[in-house]
C-alpha cells in the first residue's frame, strides 16, 4: 500500500517532467490504489504538521504579543529634534541675542561700556524693582519709579530733578538717589559733578554701596 510514496514525493518535489506529472494526475482518477495512497499521504503530512501545531500556536501568540508591544510603544519625542545646520546656528545666535536685547530694553543705560557706574546702577534698579514689587504704592516709591523711568528713557535732566527731590525728602532712598544722579550726570558728560555727587554717597549709611562707590571713584 505504500509503494507509491517515492512517486508522490517525486511529483511534489517537481522532479517529474510535465508529461510524467500529467500522466500521474490522470492515474489518480483511474487507479483506486493510487488515489487511496494520495489520501494516506495527505493524512500523514497533515499529522506531521499537526504534531507541532499546538506548540507552534503557543509560540505564535507569544510572538504576536512581542510584535504588538513593539508597535504600541509610545514613540520617543526627541527633546532636541534634528534640524539643519543653518537653523541650529540661527537658534544658537538667538539664544544669546534675545536675553541681551531683553536686558538692553530693561536697562537701556547699561549699554555704555565705558561707564564705570553702569554695573552698580543696574543692581540698584533691580534691587528697587524687586523690593517694591507687591508693595502698596507710596509717594517715595512712586517718585523713585518715576526717576528711574526717566533715566531709562534717557531723559537724564528729568531723572536728576526727581533724584534731587528724593535726596531732599527721603533719607532711606538718599544713597540710591545720589548714586543714580551721579550716573545721570556722567551720562550727560558732567564728570566732575558726577564725581562730587558720588562722593556724597560716602556720607550715607549704606556700607555696601559705599564700597562700590570707592571702587568706581578710582575709575572716574
Amino acid at each position: 500500500m505504500t509503494k507509491y510514496t517515492e512517486i508522490i514525493d517525486k511529483y511534489l518535489d517537481g522532479e517529474m517532467s510535465p508529461q510524467e506529472a500529467l500522466t500521474f494526475e490522470q492515474q489518480i482518477k483511474t487507479n483506486p490504489d493510487l488515489a487511496y495512497e494520495v489520501r494516506l499521504h495527505q493524512l500523514a503530512i497533515a499529522g506531521v504538521q499537526h504534531s507541532e501545531e499546538s506548540r507552534f500556536q503557543e509560540f505564535k501568540s507569544r510572538m504576536k504579543a512581542i510584535e504588538s508591544d513593539e508597535k504600541d510603544e509610545t514613540p520617543v519625542v526627541r527633546l532636541n529634534p534634528k534640524r539643519s545646520g543653518a537653523v541650529r546656528w540661527a537658534m544658537r545666535i538667538a539664544a544669546v541675542l534675545v536675553p541681551l536685547l531683553f536686558l538692553y530694553f530693561l536697562f537701556p543705560f547699561s549699554g555704555n561700556k565705558n561707564n564705570p557706574l553702569a554695573a552698580t546702577t543696574i543692581q540698584l534698579v533691580e534691587l528697587h524693582t524687586t523690593s517694591s514689587r507687591g508693595d502698596a504704592p507710596s509717594p517715595q516709591t512712586t517718585l523713585l519709579d518715576e526717576a528711574i523711568q526717566s533715566f531709562q528713557q534717557k531723559d537724564y535732566q528729568a531723572a536728576i530733578a526727581s533724584f534731587d527731590q528724593i535726596i531732599k525728602t527721603n533719607p532711606d532712598q538718599r544713597a540710591t538717589a545720589l548714586y543714580l544722579k551721579a550716573d545721570a550726570l556722567y551720562r550727560l558728560g558732567k564728570k566732575t559733578e558726577a564725581r562730587n555727587t558720588l562722593k556724597k554717597v560716602l556720607n550715607e549709611d549704606d556700607d555696601a554701596l559705599k564700597t562700590k562707590v570707592r571702587e568706581v571713584l578710582d575709575k572716574l
Binding site: 500500500m1 505504500t2 510514496t5 517515492e6 508522490i8 514525493d9 511529483y11 511534489l12 518535489d13 494526475e25 489518480i28 483506486p32 488515489a35 487511496y36 495512497e37 494520495v38 489520501r39 494516506l40 499521504h41 495527505q42 493524512l43 500523514a44 503530512i45 497533515a46 499529522g47 506531521v48 504538521q49 499537526h50 504534531s51 507541532e52 501545531e53 506548540r55 507552534f56 509560540f59 505564535k60 507569544r62 510572538m63 512581542i66 510584535e67 508591544d69 513593539e70
Partner: protein
Amino acid sequence: MTASTTPKMDEQRIIRLLKSDKQSEQEKGFAMLIAQKNNLLRNQNTYHLNNQDLEDIFYEALFILQDKIIINQFEYRKKGSLEAYFYTIIKRKISNQSKKKRLAELTGDRAIEGDPLMSLFSYEALERVKEILDKKIGEDCRTVIMKHYYEGMKHKEIAEELGLSVGTIKNNSSGCMKKLKNFINQDEQLKKIIIDLLNNPS
C-alpha cells in the same frame, strides 16, 4: 531579494539573547528578528500565498530557528550567517507550503487559507497520527520526517545537519514515511476516514 540587501542585525547578540534562560532576554532577541519580518518576506511570495499564510510561515520559520539555536544546530560562523540561515528556513517553509497545496489539489481540494491538508481531516484523526509519530515510529524516523516534511529540508541539507550521507537520509526519509503510513493504515479508524473521503470527496 538577497539576504545581503536587508539591514544588518546584531546577530551574535540575538543568538545570545535567544539562548538566555530569562524570558525577557529571549523576547528582546525575538523582537529584533521580528523587526526584520518585512525585509525577509519581501519578494518571497512567488507562490502567491496570501498575507496571512506568509505571516504564519514567518513565525513558523522563527519557531524552527529558535529550536535550532537552542540545541546548537545552528553554528554562527560569520556576520550575516544568521540572517542568511533564517532566510533559508523561510524559503524552505514557503516551498513546503506550496507542496502541500499541490498535494491537496491532487484530490481536487483547495484551502482558501491556513494549512491546505490539515483542514481535510478531523482533529481526532490528526491527534491519532500525532500519537503514532510520537510513540510508534521511533525518534530517528520522527527526526528525519519532521526535517523533510515539516521544515521542508532537502535530503542533502538533512545529511549535512545530521552528519550522515545523502543516500542514507534519502532511504531513511522514504522508509520512515512508509513506516508512518503503514501505522496509519493499520489503524482501522484512520483507514475508515480515508475511505470515507474517497467515497465522499469534499
